[in-house]
Amino acid sequence: MKSTKKRMAAIVLMCIACGLCACGKKEPIKIASKPMTEQYILTEIMAQLIEDGTDYEVEITKGVGGGTTNIHPALVKGEFDLYPEYTRSAWLNVLKKEEMEKDDDKLYEELLSAYDELGLTWTGLYGFSNTYGLAVRQDTAKQYSLSTYSDLAAASGELTFGGNPDYIELETGYPRLCGAYGMQFKNTVQMEIALKYEALKNEEVDVINAFTTDAQLAANNLVLLTDDQVFFETYDAGTIVRKDALEKYPELRGILEKMNGLITEDEMQQMNYEVEANGREDRDVAREFLENKGLLGH
């Protein structure tokens, strides 16, 4: 019928018009974060800097399960514009290199060029590392006089090791640790990241692999052992962003570069602690940090 056709045409025209209007307004910048406190805080810092310094809008997806494995493909596809990553995680999980590169500068250079081919780039590093460490309870440290990895190796025959599957399975993780220091633990247990600290507290395991900025270290009064042979490399944190996002949002690069060298390891651990042990919201902790640094309020 004629009138129905007219109505259909009108609706189609309206949709096109709306679509065009929506295109005029800039889409929000999409940030992803891994499911960990530290990343919730880092992405909040990013978002608040962007929203404070520009009139871009920001959308954070906090806690993408699977971490790099799921975020990276989505980033490449364009579902996200940027996210915080650790240099050597990218090296291992994205570029899938089998050998570790010991030189930090060489590593970064290679990362930049490899990522460039994917249409992505790093805007810089924040200034802290979140590296694999080994944690024990205070009493264990006292009992076996543990302060370094070598000390641990000596006592390893009487202790149980607990680690997350990624670490235990990865050639460059647990196997390499044991090989390098000659560790031979009485028993090895696999468990999820979030369960490790509980297990350690309950004495189900004696040693766990931890991240050096984990809030739970301070919260549970644990001892972080020193990598005395400096065998293990650092995982520096920085932002990975799509090159076309930098073009689409010209002010973005400047804002992101503000984060270079901004955060020390202590500061990061302190912020993690605020959220996990003191139950504060990541958003508030991030804002407080930025205000103290005088970076907000233009």
Binding site: A32, P35, M36, T37, Y40, T61, K62, G63, V64, G65, G66, N70, I71, P73, A74, K77, E79, A194, Y197, A215, Q216, A219, V275, E276, G279, E281, D282
Partner: protein, 211 residues
């Protein structure tokens, strides 16, 4: 209680999660409902296919939801879209099965009389078969809705919205209260929906002449 306190303090967060959970669940419910009923009607008319279709859906049902989500991610990305697809797939089973059972268990004598009186295929399906199968179909619908709401919690693990975000956030920030609060809200939402549908079911039963 700590949980009430956190629900109040982060009420904006919880409200956003709740609304999104409802949105995602509702979308999946509608998709699974429409698809499921159409499929159920189709196989009730083609009994040979019924075995195959029900078998396939049964197998899919046994796949753990995390696996299905993980399987979909390379194709449909992370976020709400994948969640809705996975939830729709899971929602199919109760609906298809109940629609099929309901339609095929209608009194054959009544269907024969309807045919003998001069009803054509469409009139029998729409006027007799489906109304008489409605109580069973609605019961399946009720199961499906509760299941989708509960399962929706997992979707947040792959970046979708919803109350699962509160649960996951709590786990990853070692904040058990947050996790508990999210779980309780999902349970309440599921219970409320079930209660609502129970009343719908009663009304339908009354209208369609079943005690």
């Amino acid at each position: 209680m700590q949980m009430i306190q956190i629900l109040w303090e982060r009420r904006v967060f919880f409200m956003t999660c709740l609304l999104e959970h409802i949105r995602i669940s509702l979308t999946a419910v509608v998709c699974a409902g429409v698809l499921g009923i159409l499929l159920g009607v189709f196989i009730s008319g083609h009994k040979k296919l019924a075995g195959v279709v029900l078998g396939v859906i049964n197998v899919i049902y046994t796949i753990p939801s995390i696996s299905l989500l993980g399987f979909l991610i390379p194709f449909t990305g992370i976020g709400n879209k994948t969640a809705i697809i996975a939830l729709t797939v899971y929602g199919l089973l109760p609906i298809v099965r109940n629609t099929y059972t309901g339609l095929t268990n209608v009194d054959a004598g009544i269907l024969e009389v309807a045919e003998g009186l001069g009803s054509d295929g469409r009139q029998i399906l729409l006027g007799i078969r489906i109304p008489l199968a409605l109580p069973v179909i609605i019961s399946g619908f009720r199961n499906m809705v509760v299941m989708i709401i509960a399962m929706g919690g997992i979707a947040s693990f792959i970046g979708a919205g919803g109350l699962g975000a509160a649960i996951y956030r709590g786990i990853t920030t070692y904040n058990m209260t947050l996790t508990a609060a999210g779980s309780v809200l999902i349970a309440l939402l599921a219970l409320f929906s079930d209660w609502l549908l129970a009343r719908v079911q009663k009304a339908v039963n009354r209208r369609y002449g079943i005690e």
